[in-house]
């Protein structure tokens, strides 16, 4: 070993073409990307730019048709089999017949943990997302934001170092979203996880990320990668600072450059 920790996610010349009834659709083309440990990387772009597809390739929910992808130094499939990541979907996707604590326990049950070990992790992860006291509630008894927090707790429960989030706050109103963004940053700094976060909101991407991957559609490709110069400590007010606005402007430019709606 050379002593350099391997990248958490490394994609090289990654491409994915879906075969549809209307012929092949190129969802991803020539994506090169390396994500290091502890980074918070956002994927932003208009719909159809392949940002969700890229996240699904990392999660081994889609197979690339060209190029290579490695997760934690393994193939994406091996990484999935080793439960290397927690995945948070657009909707909370909680099982309605399970209480919050049983929902969080779901991956732990599948992994075959003892009841005692489950209880300890449930308590710890629910604390982490500020849902202590709601263990015995059913999902419908919680607000949308709380449900999404429960689903984040479920993704954190089995201690994967990588968190993949696919527009997790897209369906929530802006006030709740701000609140959850703040909590997510706090959680990230406390746990030192690597987070890949798909969004179509520029302020959200700039506020959260250490790096922003701007993508453009047809075919889905990376058009710009922006390193954030913001400090790790980010109060909500940072969004009014010139530094923040400058990064947001660059993201917007990147999106505009790759935009293909106006042709």
């Amino acid at each position: 070993m050379t002593g350099i920790s391997p990248a958490v996610v490394a994609a090289s010349k990654l491409g994915l073409t879906f075969q549809t009834n209307d012929g092949p659709v190129q969802a991803l083309s020539n994506v090169d990307l390396t994500i290091g440990k502890g980074e918070f990387v956002s994927f932003i772009g208009p719909s159809g730019c392949g940002k969700t597809t890229l996240l699904r390739v990392i999660a081994d929910l889609e197979k690339p048709t060209s190029g290579t992808i490695s997760v934690n130094g393994m193939t994406a499939e091996q990484a999935r089999e080793k439960r290397a990541y927690g995945y948070v979907f657009q909707a909370a996707a909680l099982f309605p017949w399970r209480t919050i604590e049983r929902n969080v326990a779901l991956p732990l049950e599948i992994m075959g943990l003892s009841r005692a070990a489950q209880a300890e992790r449930i308590k710890r992860t629910l604390d982490l997302v500020n849902l202590s006291g709601f263990e015995k509630k059913y999902p419908w008894q919680l607000s949308g934001g709380m449900q999404q927090r429960a689903s984040i707790a479920r993704a954190l429960a089995f201690d994967a170092d990588l968190l993949l989030m696919d527009e997790p706050f897209g369906a929530l109103d802006e006030i709740v979203r701000d609140h959850l963004n703040e909590q997510l940053l706090e959680l990230w700094s406390r746990t030192n996880k690597t987070i890949c976060f798909v969004t179509h909101s520029i302020p959200e991407a700039v506020y959260l990320s250490t790096r922003i991957v701007v993508m453009s559609p047809r075919p889905g490709r990376v058009s710009d990668i922006i390193e954030s110069t913001l400090p790790r400590e980010r109060p909500l007010g940072i969004r009014e600072t010139p530094e923040f606005l400058a990064i947001a402007a660059r993201v917007r430019d990147g999106l505009r450059a790759g935009h293909s709606y106006d042709d």
Binding site: R80, R83, W97
Partner: protein, 292 residues
């Protein structure tokens, strides 16, 4: 109490309407025979008296509601329940084969559904046959099942229960196939990210998701099961059961008996559907369902 009022008033007003219509039909349908009787007896009754007579015939074309009610009351509450004229006894005979057939049918329906959902070849090969099986008129199949099984020495409860099974497995199969396939892609993806095995996905996701579908289809199945049991009793030589009462009543033109047996059958059906409905609601509540 609001649901009580919301449901009771509409239902009872329909019932009252049906009873009134029934009386009108009884008078109209029984009138020709009564006129015949009166002519032969050289009587010319007043209209009111004539109407009264149409409602008390011993073997009316259409018995009046009160005649059915009296017959039903006598045969339900006034006879020892061991008597083969007791409706309770006959209802029990039918109910026992209904329940046995329903249990078999539900089990068979679930097994077939699990097979169809998990084995692609079964989906393509079995489903058309299952649908075809329900297009065959049960009245034609029932005597054959009874006769064939009697030839190999199986009589009594089992052949009747098999007809119930034949009718009740179908809704359960269709409902469960739908139920087991009801989880959205997102939930299946979630299980995939946990590297869950097929059996874990089945027990932790597909089965709980299918429970509401199971109870809905069981409500249909239990009613179908009762029909199967009654149909199964028709060719057994009218020994006992609601079906036997119907057949005997038809033989001897005991129209009032037919109708009270029919009422007994309907009450059994309503109770069965209700019990399944209540069981479904209890299970839903136990699984954290939102109270309606």
């Amino acid at each position: 109490m609001d649901t009580f009022r919301d449901k009771l008033i509409p239902v009872t007003s329909i019932l009252a309407g049906v009873v009134v219509l029934w009386y009108v039909c009884a008078i109209i349908l029984n009138a020709p025979f009564q006129r015949d009787l009166d002519t032969r007896a050289n009587e010319t009754p007043e209209i009111i008296e004539f109407i009264g007579k149409t409602l008390v015939q011993p073997k009316p074309t259409l018995p009046a509601p009160h005649q059915v009610a009296v017959n039903f009351f006598e045969n339900t509450f006034l006879r020892p329940i061991t008597s083969n004229r007791s409706l309770v006894y006959n209802a029990w005979v039918t109910l026992s084969s209904t329940l046995l057939g329903f249990a078999f049918g539900t089990a068979l329906g679930i097994i077939i559904a699990v097979g169809i959902v998990h084995v692609a070849t079964l989906d393509r090969s079995l489903m058309p046959w299952i649908i075809a099986s329900q297009t065959i008129p049960i009245l034609a199949v029932a005597p054959m099942i009874i006769v064939v099984l009697a030839a190999v020495g199986i009589t009594g409860l089992i052949p009747k229960a098999m007809i119930s099974t034949y009718l009740s497995f179908f809704p359960v199969t269709v409902g469960m196939v739908k139920g087991l396939r009801s989880p959205e892609i997102m939930y299946l993806d979630l299980m995939h990210t946990y590297n869950a095995s097929a059996s874990q996905t089945f027990w932790k996701l597909r089965v709980p998701a299918s429970v509401p579908f199971l109870f809905t289809s069981m409500k249909v199945a239990v009613a179908a099961s009762l029909v199967g049991a009654i149909v199964g009793e028709l060719p057994t030589g009218a020994v006992a059961g609601i079906g036997a009462k119907l057949l005997a009543g038809a033989y001897y033109s005991q129209s009032i008996d037919i109708w009270s047996a029919l009422v007994a059958g309907s009450i059994v059906a309503a109770l069965l559907v209700m019990v399944v409905g209540i069981a479904g609601r209890l299970v839903d509540r136990a699984m954290g369902g939102r109270p309606a």
